[in-house]
């Protein structure tokens, strides 16, 4: 490709198919596009839709109190708890799925992604002892099928040579499971968590709306939405979006740090 040498920002390169541009060029381009979009948004007559300055003002008001911080913390703690439970359950059932006995269970969990939570909330309410446990269980129920779908596809796509190398080295089947699936796919577990974190983060606002006693960013959103306080609603959406991107980046960094061979 002709994009190998692109140290300078050249506007003509931006419109060449398959052109690769440098990181600094990309950052300049993104900054310009965001700025252009924000200016356009601010200048356009939006009616009830607030402009960027109003949203920034709303964000400033939220930051001025502990309201945003406390609710964000509640949401983050809940999300991280749900992620930990989901990862443990996903890994357990995914590793077990290589044993024929557990395959139906694993497949059932994968298919559960077609179930909607709406009709099941009452059942979960009966099964859990308080609002916190209800939210946690709903989140886990929502996340695990997606995690499992991704991880099982990683297991299924394992190259036959990985198993054959184990066989030629005289590994037992359990040793092969440990080497190829548990150790060999650990980096991909991280990638799946990174890719699917968005699901957990998106669901958090929904489940927090079901039980508002412990607060959370979802509770805040519902509260402001109820009064059509769009500057605050969009400011919160911006915070949710920004934090999601931060987590995505951090998980990517953590993966490269823990599994350095993924950088090669």
């Amino acid at each position: 490709m002709g994009g190998l040498a692109a140290p300078h920002f050249k506007s003509s390169n931006m419109f060449k198919p398959f052109e690769t541009i440098s990181r600094s060029s990309l950052l300049i381009m993104v900054a310009l596009q965001v700025l252009f979009f924000l200016v356009l948004w601010q200048l356009s007559p939006g009616g009830l839709i607030p402009g960027p300055i109003q949203i920034l003002d709303g964000l400033g008001q939220l930051l001025a109190t502990r309201l945003l911080f406390d609710n964000l913390l509640a949401s983050l703690v809940l999300t991280l708890k749900a992620l930990v439970y989901s990862i443990v359950l996903t890994l357990l059932f995914s590793y077990l799925s290589v044993l024929p006995f557990f395959q139906p269970m694993a497949q059932f969990l994968v298919k559960c992604r077609y179930l909607t939570l709406t009709g099941l909330i009452f059942i979960f309410t009966l099964l859990t002892k308080d609002g916190g446990a209800l939210k946690l269980s709903l989140l886990v129920f929502g996340i695990v099928p997606f995690f499992m779908t991704s991880f099982l596809s990683v297991i299924v796509r394992t190259p036959a040579q990985e198993f054959e190398l184990c066989q030629t080295l005289g590994y037992s089947r359990w040793q092969t499971l440990y080497e190829v699936i548990i150790v060999g796919k650990a980096d991909q577990v991280f990638e799946i968590v990174r890719q699917n974190f968005a699901i957990a983060w998106m669901m958090i606002t929904m489940v927090e709306g079901l039980n508002m006693s412990e607060g959370g960013i979802g509770t805040l959103l519902i509260k402001y939405n109820k009064y059509n306080d769009l500057p605050h609603v969009l400011a919160l959406q911006g915070v949710v979006f920004g934090l999601g991107l931060c987590f995505d980046y951090l998980l990517g960094l953590l993966r490269h740090w823990l599994f350095s061979y993924t950088n090669l």
């Binding site: 040579q161 990985e162 054959e164 190398l165 066989q167 030629t168 080295l169 005289g170 590994y171 080497e179 190829v180 150790v183 060999g184 650990a186 980096d187 599994f259 350095s260 061979y261 090669l264």
Partner: protein, 279 residues
Amino acid sequence: MTAYTKNDVLLQAKDISLYYDDKCILRNIDFTVRDIVRPGLQQGQVVSLIGRSGIGKTQLFRVLSGLQKPSGGTITVRERKPVESGNGSIEVWRERPVRAGDMGVIFQNYYQFGWRTVRQSLLLAARKNPALAGKEEDAIREYAGRFDITDVLQRYPAQLSGGQQQRVSIIQQLLKGSNFLLLDEPFSGLDICVLDKVTELLLQVSLSDELKTLIIVSHDIATTVEISDTVFILGKESGKEGSTIIREIDLIERGLAWRHDLRQDKVFVDTLAEIKGCL
């Protein structure tokens, strides 16, 4: 001629056949590898399976390695087995069907676990060898020095050149301690300098133990014949479906085994022509 005898059967392929659905890939494969004994030397065996591309060499390779069950026939290997007797434990020889793990297998692309450093991969293999118990690290250091990969022990496979990957694969299987080493197209894609090093290395391996047996599956006739003592040609017989061993050539009898600078030798050139004529 160099003095030698062919003694016990180390490996025997008997009436091997392989079918995919109803398509015959291999049929009536029969051959034997015997222990070659040369006075004063630890002389291993180097056997080649030569055939054209697509003739079924890789399938036969997989069957020999125990990775694939044949549709019919058996592959037996000879192994030492400890047996309790009145005077304690003694070792007896016995023949048994080959199993995956009996043979060291070096795949064509020298596949290694991408998540393990070279040292870790070698350690995994060394730990499977009871003879190295407690001395795994020493053995790795020794082989790494001999095969010139000491500098890359902490690297991952993705950081190695093709030649380094090949040496790592060979050392890994040597550390595992199997007497049989199966190599799938070990000369393909190598430049002439590396090729010389690889052939030298394989000869070195074959001389490391009396029972060490290299089985090379290749379509590079000249290089393969240069380092082998026996050649089996895999081909098709007219009017018959599936490939079989159509010729066995004893290179020792022709004075072509264990020699250097064979390329100009008339018998060598004639042998290559004979093999080409069979393909």
